[in-house]
């Protein structure tokens, strides 16, 4: 175990130490990891120099877990245990998944998120994604030569709360400190904007393997402000493959296929699609396990014809996002193309026609998201350099609301609200003596609850009995900087507080995560212990550094006595961190945290005042 460096009290420990932080693009088809090295954002390759990691996980019967190319090699021979495009299942129930009957998996019928039965037992999409993240973590730690301080994981901007929560859970399960969930088009805008010194309003058109996002951003003086976002979290290159797949079956007049043949043909369909990005026609010749032969030629025109409706489907959210932003196409300075699927000529053409300009293709559409995420991760980890004072203002993609009488949705936070955001709404009882109330949290744009996604349902109990309409129940929605929601409810009139915090039902509870983590260490309980201890030590060290850097900047905000108290707490934490009593470290951290509350509040007030110090301040007179 590495020894921790302990500095003298009041002195900063290695202030310029570079913290290892990476950005992860957890894609439907491929995943990547990138990091800022010597001021440059670069994609980290595997030992064979390959930058992409196919998002494929295989649970082999012999207990081995393969990820990436090794797993991909088995997708036709072992389709049931080889999971591809798992991102499509994140935070999704069985009914949400398109073409579910054509997928070669053994789905388990459960409430909530769909699960898969494999040779190694039942796996949730979160666990499958965890394997991909673990592989990227190993790659990054090998390339950077140390443990990661923190990561930024990207998600489609149009991901709803369940999908985001599932992604964050996967990060935690992979043992990563998730600094932020970052929207993919926003990550791309960072990489593009910083690279090109872009100013003005840009659209980011991001068509990946399984998801589509459109974001409209205003880039001005180092601020990336998302004005509107839209998309379809179940539309991507996979759907184009599927159209080709169906076309092959129809043209060749094939009988129902075995799972192996289905996988084989899906692969052929994808290859043909990719070939057509460079050629006018693609040959499809294959011998199936059923001894049937396929010998077809797919022309670019036929391909465009069979996928026309998919292309149109991308323009619906695009139009909507433009309207939400209140903009006309001639106000868009550039359209940044992201995601491998934007290589398709018909997409390029449709986007160019819609925005009445040639799309920007000067960045690698496969890598730009990871590169942007790495830049953000570097900043969040505290590796600030000169010129790194840019700011990101993102939005939530879908309205959040709750169910009211008659199955109708009352919107609490509208889509495209800048995050973090909080809104409260008051409700009352409708029966005399009513002591409980159900709060049903939904996400979506439709008026009926049944047309929106149900995120959570909870009961607020202990409302004091009163006549109908007298109770005042305040429901507060808070969306954090990751775009994740928490809800609290409380009864106000009597001062009696019944308060509950919910996590959306598709996310895993903290207990479940703890159980899974424990599970993954069950073969080495010593490891689990050492790991927990080391995490506490690292966290303690991080806190000490944060406090010391705050003291360095703003010690004058504290009295001598207050400062002495903070320094004593720091010293206690330093001492505790040297030992191996995890609970002592936790206690010392709690003491230091609460001992610096007031200091943090004063610092925040100071910085807010400073922000406006150069401005004219109008005399504020209230009538």
């Amino acid at each position: 175990m590495a020894l921790l460096q302990i500095a003298e009290p009041g002195q900063s420990a290695a202030p310029h130490e570079h913290r290892l932080a990476v950005g992860i693009d957890l894609g439907t088809t491929n995943s990547l990891v990138a990091s800022v090295r010597s001021g440059m954002s670069v994609v980290l390759s595997d030992e064979r120099g390959r930058s992409l990691l196919p998002s494929v996980v295989r649970y082999a019967a012999d207990g081995a877990v393969e990820v990436g190319y090794a797993a991909q090699a088995h997708q036709a021979s072992d389709p049931r245990n080889t999971i591809v495009s798992v991102k499509r299942f994140m935070g999704r129930g069985r009914r949400d998944i398109a073409h579910v009957e054509m997928l070669p998996y053994d789905f388990v019928d459960t409430e909530g998120m769909v699960k898969l039965r494999t040779a190694q037992g039942i796996k949730s999409p979160v666990e499958v994604s965890t394997e991909i993240l673990k592989a990227l973590r190993v790659r990054a730690e090998a390339a950077l030569g140390g443990e990661l301080t923190g990561v930024v994981i990207t998600v489609p901007a149009y991901f709803d709360d369940s999908q985001r929560q599932a992604t964050k859970d996967a990060g935690k399960l992979a043992g990563l400190n998730v600094l932020r969930l970052l929207n993919e088009p926003t990550a791309a805008a960072i990489a593009y904007g910083l690279d090109n010194g872009a100013e003005g309003i840009y659209a980011v058109f991001d068509l990946g393997g399984g998801t589509f996002d459109i974001s409209i951003l205003k880039l001005s003086k180092g601020v990336f402000e998302v004005l509107a976002t839209g998309g379809d979290s179940a539309l991507g290159g996979d759907d184009f493959d599927h159209r080709v797949f169906c076309w092959i079956i129809e043209q060749a007049g094939l009988k129902p296929l075995s799972p192996q043949d289905a996988r084989l043909l899906q692969g052929q369909a994808r290859e043909a699609k990719e070939y057509l990005s460079q050629h006018g026609e693609a040959p499809i010749t294959v011998k199936l396990g059923s001894n049937e032969y396929v010998d077809l030629t797919l022309t670019i025109d036929t391909f465009a014809e069979i996928t026309r409706t998919l292309v149109q489907k991308t323009l619906v959210p695009t139009r909507k996002a433009m309207r939400d932003a209140g903009l006309a196409v001639n106000e868009i300075k550039g359209v940044v193309m992201v995601g491998g699927s934007t290589r398709m000529p018909q997409i390029q053409h449709a986007v160019g026609e819609f925005f009445k300009q040639e799309p920007l293709n000067n960045l690698d559409p496969d890598k730009v998201v990871a590169l942007g995420a790495a830049i953000q991760a570097n900043l969040l980890a505290g590796n600030r350099a000169a010129g790194d004072d840019w700011l990101l203002l993102d939005v939530i993609p879908l309205s959040l609301g709750l169910e009211t009488m008659g199955g109708l949705v009352e919107k609490v936070i509208p889509r495209n609200s800048t995050i973090p955001i909080s809104r409260a709404q008051e409700f009352t009882t409708y029966k005399d003596g009513q002591t409980a109330m159900v709060v049903h949290v939904v996400q979506g744009e439709r008026e009926l609850v049944s047309d929106c996604r149900s995120l959570a349902r909870f009961e607020l109990r202990g409302i004091p009995p009163m006549v109908a309409g007298a109770a005042r129940i305040r429901v507060t929605y808070q969306v954090d900087a990751d775009g994740l929601l928490s809800v609290t409810a409380r009864e106000q009139t009597t001062g009696h507080e019944a308060r509950i915090e919910v996590k959306p039902s598709y996310g895993l509870s903290d207990d479940e995560i703890a159980a899974m983590l424990k599970d993954s260490f069950s073969h080495a309980s010593d490891d689990a212990f050492r790991r927990a201890l080391r995490e506490a030590q690292v966290e303690g060290q991080r806190l000490i550094e944060a406090v010391q850097s705050a003291l360095k900047e703003d010690a004058d905000l504290l009295s001598t006595l207050e400062r002495a108290h903070v320094e004593t707490c720091v010293l206690r934490l330093q001492t505790a961190s040297m030992g191996d009593d995890r609970r002592a470290i936790d206690r010392a951290m709690d003491a230091l945290n609460s001992g610096t509350n007031e200091f943090a509040a004063r610092r925040m007030n100071k910085s807010v005042s400073k922000a406006l110090s150069g401005k004219r301040i109008d005399q504020v007179e209230m009538g």
Binding site: G150, D389, E545, V547
Partner: protein, 180 residues
């Protein structure tokens, strides 16, 4: 250097250090919003103490809420009138002028008809017509609040505008339905 005491509990105008009027300098407000967010946003405190992270989220939330309220004319007017003791919600039972209601009903029928016929051109025209009306009403609203200080009349106009903005939303939804 001007210093002043900004605090969490200040009203939205005081938070940005601007005068509480309906007429505002939108570019100036935006620049103030960005300057404060640049200090308080959670991204700026991701490596800070737990207290700093929690405060940062509260502040950023507060500043976003204030900016959302002040940047658009309707929520700004509602908020300003609320500060002046005139609440649009409380007086919601007050009848609106018959003339206005008739005109709105006609417009609504036209929207419903265009929606059924999935008539994009008609919807676009209705939207433009409505937007022009709304725009001129906002000019009147600003005069009522800032010059005439006729808050009851302004409150009545706010209610009308809430009605019109809702219709605008319905037209937008109808347009979405046409395309999808």
């Amino acid at each position: 250097m001007t210093t002043f005491d900004l605090n969490f509990a200040a009203d939205h105008f005081a938070l940005f250090g601007i005068a509480p009027t309906q007429g505002i300098d939108a570019a100036d407000l935006e620049s103030r919003f960005r300057d404060i967010q640049a200090q308080v946003h959670p991204d700026k405190h991701a490596d800070g103490t737990d207290s700093a992270q929690r405060l940062s989220m509260q502040w950023a939330t507060r500043v976003n809420e204030a900016y959302q309220t002040l940047k658009s004319p309707l929520p700004r007017a509602r908020y300003l009138l609320h500060l002046r003791g005139h609440d649009a919600q409380i007086e919601s039972n007050t009848a609106m002028p018959m003339e206005f209601l008739m005109a709105q009903m006609e417009l609504r029928e036209a929207v419903a008809e265009a929606k059924v016929g999935a008539d994009e051109t008609a919807l676009d025209q209705l939207r433009d017509q409505l937007l022009a009306e709304i725009k001129s009403e906002y000019v009147r609203l600003q005069r009522l609040i800032d010059t005439d200080k006729d808050y009851p009349a302004a409150t009545a106009l706010v209610r009308q505008l809430m009605f019109q903005e809702k219709l605008r939303q319905e037209i937008d939804d109808a347009l979405d339905a046409v395309f999808s």
